[in-house]
Symmetry: C2
Subunit: 377 residues, 2 copies
Amino acid sequence: MTAHTASPAATGHIPVLVDHAELHAALTGLLRGHGIPDHRARLAADALCHGDLTGLDSHGVFNLTRLYLPLLRSGRCDPRAEPRTLTDLGACAVVDARRALGLWAAAEAMDDAVARARRHGIGLVSVRGATHFGCAGFHAVRAAHAGMIGVVASNCGGQRIARPPGGALAMLGTNPLSVAAPALDGHPFLLDMSTTVAPTGRVRVAARRGTPVPAGWLEDATGTPVTDPSAFDRGEAFLRWLGGTPDTGAYKGYGLGIAVELLAAVVSGAAVGPDPAALEGDGRPHGRDDDIGFFLLALAPDVLRPGADVAGTTRSLFGALTDCPPVPGGQPVRYPGWWEAELAAERRRDGVPLPPHLYEELAGLGLFGRSGSRSPR
Amino acid sequence: MTAHTASPAATGHIPVLVDHAELHAALTGLLRGHGIPDHRARLAADALCHGDLTGLDSHGVFNLTRLYLPLLRSGRCDPRAEPRTLTDLGACAVVDARRALGLWAAAEAMDDAVARARRHGIGLVSVRGATHFGCAGFHAVRAAHAGMIGVVASNCGGQRIARPPGGALAMLGTNPLSVAAPALDGHPFLLDMSTTVAPTGRVRVAARRGTPVPAGWLEDATGTPVTDPSAFDRGEAFLRWLGGTPDTGAYKGYGLGIAVELLAAVVSGAAVGPDPAALEGDGRPHGRDDDIGFFLLALAPDVLRPGADVAGTTRSLFGALTDCPPVPGGQPVRYPGWWEAELAAERRRDGVPLPPHLYEELAGLGLFGRSGSRSPR
């Protein structure tokens, strides 16, 4: 693979630009090498690249050596898993992913939900026994590409990361939620959020960079804001729920986190975070994200309202939002997904910037071939 | 109706306690007097009382003279409306409420969604042509009482209340979202939230009381926090989205607000807020909440996973949360809906406290009978 950097040395803070198609091919090859069938390896590579293309750098190839390769190497993920449908009621199915890689298993399940919505107006595929699926939005936007509304949620299996407001122990994951829909051409609406203020990945990316996080992401045991991201993995700072403090909606973020646990894990029968069975023998949470549950919902307004101009309505809705005048001196008004689509187009054309340490890490896996050539941008 | 107050005069700030059953009967009679059939008048009274029982005072009888009676008197709500099913695909239906009172129309639609979920595992009733439904949680918790997970969303019709982050014009409503599920006995999980930090009703209750709102609810045109609630109706302060500032997740709250618009209005074909047709001839938003859309979804884990102990799983999940030790000196850890259920039980037993001005306002409607007797508590 050819990589480009502003400096010939992949050190310091100057990102290395790698070609998207070559990065994708290299990731596909790596995953295939771990025993994942070709079409599923390609789908998983799509899911990984989605993070780096759209600027969700904490949920892309950054997680290859942190999450996915350890899952495959330890056998906690089965590269050849064939998901099994446990219940099929037409509009709705429950699927056991049988330790499949969530990166492709969630995408296939969403495509199944879309097919069900085409017949029934609504389609739900509820998945258990899965592993980490990357960016929730990668899976939700598949429904938007099919002209539908997609809703995706995932719990974090038995992993406990965030404390209830006023609680002294972590009980729930960062429980992502995503909603996608067709909007303006080439710019689908795409909300992709953790139900905490920030996901752990963004905190760890900041810790690795040595840059502070905004006040409001983390707090210490007394509720005082913490801006040093490294305090999180030292156990000295805790993620706040979306909403911040109880006065400004922390119970809403906490409630959304619980809602995701219900939709993703209780519907499917996956492991739930706040379950005594998720504790080690010593009573401490084991922190493993095995047996994750997914909620993949597709809604087809065109099927529910035949003859209606749904695409016209959504274009009008999102057009009105982007026509909203900004406050004096402000950026143009957009909607979630708009800037991400712009960035993805730019990175597909110009290359995906990888921090030097990440580039070196991936090069160490042989991802960039023998030459590993790179040249100034 | 007998009312009790700590002082014989319903003035000042000491609330008047009114008996719940009598308040409910009086509301039913009043709505029946406006032409609403008896069983639907009772259901609407249930919905109104839910707000006052659970402490969501801004969404209960407070809105009778502000929202519901003006809707009925102006003819914008048809008291005898019979909702019509436009599409029925089994798991999913689209219904035109034909200007019915949302307080009962949403409840009936949720009961329909529950019946569909009993057969198909999932049930969605998508409603358009409706009017304000009161507390979203009243409708969502009906699914929980049936052993299911309920998800409810409503847009605000063509009404524009909140500005996009960085936008100079209001474009969307406060777009409520609610999720409910069985949890610990008598204490269902019940998240009931506006996608803005606070709904307009809570701001107006504070303005009426003359008490400041917490910093973080409102901001002026430059983004500076405002704590004077009366600045909102003067057009000098604007609601923030859940998440607060862009650094701490304002785009998530804004995205959730758009997601509600899609689920409630684009699926059903109701009026959408950011639509040029929602402007008056002079280009200003008309601010009316006609043609509201609802999204009422029921999920039945017991149907999807026959034989599984779903109730045991949810009891274990919520039991673990309430077993979480609090931070030193803190309140016990609970979940959304727990305190509301406690308060409702107390108020069913001891009476519903109404602020004196609200009591007088309702008494002026003849709601408390000829005697209007009240005695010190």
